[in-house]
Every structure is written in structure tokens, then in C-alpha cells.
Amino acid sequence: MTDVTRLTLAEARDALAAKKLSAVELTKAHLGAMEKARGLNAYVTETPEQALAMAAASDARIASGAAGPLEGLPIGVKDLYATKGVHTQACSHILDGFKPDYESTVTANLWRDGAVMLGKLNMDEFAMGSSNETSYYGPVASPWLPAGRDGAWAREALKGDKKGLLVPGGSSGGSASAVAAHLCLGATASDTGGSIRQPAAFTGTVGIKPTYGRCSRWGMVAFASSLDQAGPIARTVRDCAIMLRSMAGHDAKDATCIDAPVPDYEASIGRSIKGKKIGIPKEYRIDGMPAEIEKLWADGVAFLKAAGAEIVDISLPHTRTALPAYYIVAPAEASSNLARYDGVRYGLRVPGKDIQSMYENTRRAGFGSEVRRRIMIGAYVLSAGYYDAYYVRAQKIRTLIRQDFEKAYAQGVDAILTPATPSAAFGIGEKGSTDPVEMYLNDVFTVTVNMAGLPGIAVPAGLSADGLPLGLQLIGRPFDEETLFSVASVIEESAGRVALPQPWW
């Protein structure tokens, strides 16, 4: 076999099972690729020794016939998941040196099923961002090149401030970049307002945010607890299905994690979608939508029609309110969740003249500007006199958003098709420096799904005029990830697999 990092997760699994390849070989190939790709800054910590030990143990289990569903498959882990004894900082300065004594449930599930950990992946600080530029560890570069630029130019840009290279999206930017650059077979990610689906769309990869409650949040660094959900990013719909099956499942340590069996998601790949009702929400046709996004959406409709699906126009009247309501609910929950970083129990401490100034100095130095801004907005909307006007009103609007979806599903709609992002990837340093809201608008199509707790998948469906990947989003009924996998696999098949960039880094 030539370059085993080019295999999909499913292909690698089959090659391992057929003993055409060993887990140690596969892991070594990935560790080698990671070493050459350090300039992209996708990984914040590499764990080669642990990876090789896990791979050797996998080879032994494969030899003895005790292989798990992910046996010997090397994956990357977003820095937001607690991994025992390993760097876990949600890419924040305030968690400097933090190494938990426990393992998150989602990663524990992956290791139980035989997966191999390659390292921890870069992300926006505390998952707050849409471009991976708020990370304390610096921005991640996408393996995709901007129009008109070649590898030689890009290699120079990597050595500097990376300006002009493309963002991989965020907050799961390290996950998306690593998957697209073949630095792992798949990666864990997390999604509070679009942090799995937007980076997947920007990098030509597939990402699913399952229904709220499908995966345990235990051991994930909390951002906004009523919105956060774990999910995978991988190179194919099938690979996401394989990973999600292992990640999901009941956990007594998270009271919001449901006790329901996890289906064999892979079985829904390739299942006929004949007669499935696909809703097209008119409110997603936003002002100033680029023609190439309009065309992508129309292509998606054509693919599904050709596969026998019935296309119906639907209305989700409160769509417009979702993003502003999100920027009340999420900062409010964040200001509460991030109150724990006080310089006492873990991470950074900056001394002060008394305990109060120690708290204030620590939080000033430890949080980046985006995180500080969101904590302050959250503190404001929760403060006396503003709570009803902002927070309670936003939670009422959230009820209205969910009711919009419920009405559509009550009409028999099986899934909803929308664009995943309002544009292709933009450049590092290009957005949000003067007006934070400019960056927030990236999540306009994805955030409704978190507000309503629904599952959503982003799947590559075409290229922009500049040759950059564009993704479509499918939104499903609660806990019906299977339909999303079936329909997404039709789009993937019809659009043709994206040719990911060849290494230039």
C-alpha cells in the first residue's frame, strides 16, 4: 500500500480486519504526516508514545479476534475533551498546564472500541469562534489554498503570521484541518452554534452534530450547556456514521444524556430515500446570498429529487431571530460556566493585592478578547433589571424556533435541506477585527439547529468559483440521525467525493 493516510476510516478498518495492514503501521504513517504538517498548527499536542502503545494493543486484539468496531484506527481529539494525563485546555491560556485525572465519556467510548489517539487538536478558545483564530495557540491554516496561490507561496505564509491563507472554520478548526489534510482518519469535534458543521463545510469534510442528548457531555469543557453537543468530523458520511455510533450512548454522569439504544448508523448509508419528504425553508434564502450558494442548494434539491425524494417548500418563520437569540443564551450560559476559572483550583494564577484582584487579574490575562467579551455580555444580560428583557425573552424565542421545526415535521417532513454556510472559507485575519458581529454571521444557517436541539449534518456538495469546497446542511427530526446519514450519502454520491488538497505544506 502506498500512502495509508489517504484511506477512509472505513477502508482502513477493512484493511486492518483483512490483515493487509497493521495498526502500528497505520499509526506510524499518521504520526509521520503530522510531523510534516506542523506548520498548519492543527495539533496542539501530539501523543506519539501513547498512540503507538494503543496501536500495539490493537494489533494484539486483532490477532486474538477481540477487535472492537474502531480497532486500531488513529483519530485526533479536540482539545475540549478531557483526556487523562494529557493536555486539556480548550486552547485557553487560563487552563495552562491542566491535565485531568479523568477521561471524557465520549473519548472513553472511542478507546473502548479500539480507536488510537494521535493527539489533541487546535480550536477556538473555549469553542468561541468561527475561524479558529481565537485559540491561545494561534490560528490553524486550512490545507485548501486561496485562488491564485501556490504551495511555494503558502509555505512561506505558514512561516509567518499565516495571513492570506484560509481559515478552516471554527470552532473545531483543528479537527477539520487535520481530517482534510489526512493527519487523522477522523476527529472528535463539538458544536454549540455550528462548530462542527461550518468547519466541515469550509474544508470539504463531513461533520454531524447529533441531537442534544445523544452524546454525553461529561468531561467536555463546557461553553453553553443547553447547546453544546459532541460529534465527529471525517472524510465521508460513512466514516462519520461509524464514529458517531461509538461516541454516542447513555451515560449516568450526564443527566441530559438520553437512555436509548444507539442504532447501527452505518447501516443507513446507501438506504433508499425514495418517498422521503425533504423540506426547503424559504427563510434561508437570505438577502445577498451569493449565486454560487443558491446554485449549490438547487443542485442539492436536484440530487435528492433524482433519488426519488419529494421536495416540499416549508416555512420556518423565526429563523431570523435565531442568531441574535443565540448571542444572548450562549454568552449567558458561558458567563456562568466560565466562572469556575478563578486561579484557585487549576490553570493560570496572576497575583493581585487581594483575592478579588487575583481573580480579576487572572481572568484578564487568562481569557482572550473574544471570551472576555462574551462573558461580559453574558453577565450583562443576566444582571438585575435585564434578565427578563434579554435572557427570558431569548428563551421564549427559542421555544418559537423549536415550534417552527415541530410544525414542519408534523407535516411529514423527514429532513430539511439548507446551505451549511453563507460563503466559502475566508482568509486568516480577514473578518471580525472591527465588528465581532461580522464573524457571528457565519453561523446563520447552523445556529437554529442548536437552538432547537436537533441533529444536523454538513456534507460537501460542490466547489465555489475559486475552487473551494461548499457544503449543504441537512436538519433532522430529534434522534433521527439515521435519515440524515441516508440522505447525506445520496448528496455525497451525487456530488462526487471532494478531491482533498495534495500536501504542499
Binding site: T321, G343, R373, M376, P436
Partner: protein
């Protein structure tokens, strides 16, 4: 609604984040940009709508009131910036 500079300092204090006097005007501008972005919500008719409390309908679960995974005091303080005899050390809080 928009915030003035005194409010910015008050919010920063509530959030326990130190701000320097030079930072205040810039923060005020950013916070007001966000507040003006969310302003359109005041137009939405929410009469008689229940605020969301749980995004997915689920039954609250109970567990036995028992020690589950107590790992030991050394482990609890292992990540602390400063600790002594398995206690967290903080600046003096009482005179």
C-alpha cells in the same frame, strides 16, 4: 439598549475581569455592537410563550445519594497553581 462606560466597568466587575481605563471605550463599542445586533428581538411577539427550559423533552433522572468516584485529595488539588497539605491556597480573605 446600549451601555455607557460606567456600565462597562460594572459588568467587568461582575464578571471579575480587570479592565484598564484605556480598554473601556473599545469594549463599550464592541458590547454595543452586539447589543444592537440583538435589538431586533424586542420586535418579536412572545406573548403567552413559555421560555424554553429543556431543549429535548426528557425525564429528570435521580441517582443514589452516594460517594461515586472520589479520587482522593491529592488528585483534587493536583492541578492547583498553589496548594499546601491538600488545601487550595488563596490570598488572605479575612482581616
Amino acid at each position: 439598549m446600549s451601555v455607557d462606560q460606567a456600565t462597562v466597568r460594572r459588568i467587568a466587575h461582575l464578571a471579575r475581569i480587570a479592565v484598564s481605563p484605556e480598554e473601556v471605550p473599545h469594549l463599550q463599542q464592541e458590547l454595543n455592537a452586539i447589543l444592537s445586533f440583538v435589538e431586533e428581538l424586542s420586535e418579536v411577539d412572545v406573548e403567552g410563550v413559555e421560555p424554553m427550559t429543556s431543549v429535548v423533552p426528557m425525564k429528570m433522572v435521580w441517582r443514589a445519594d452516594a460517594v461515586t468516584d472520589h479520587a482522593g485529595a491529592e488528585v483534587v488539588v493536583a492541578n492547583a497553581p498553589t496548594s499546601e497539605d491538600n488545601f487550595f491556597v488563596v490570598p488572605k480573605v479575612v482581616e
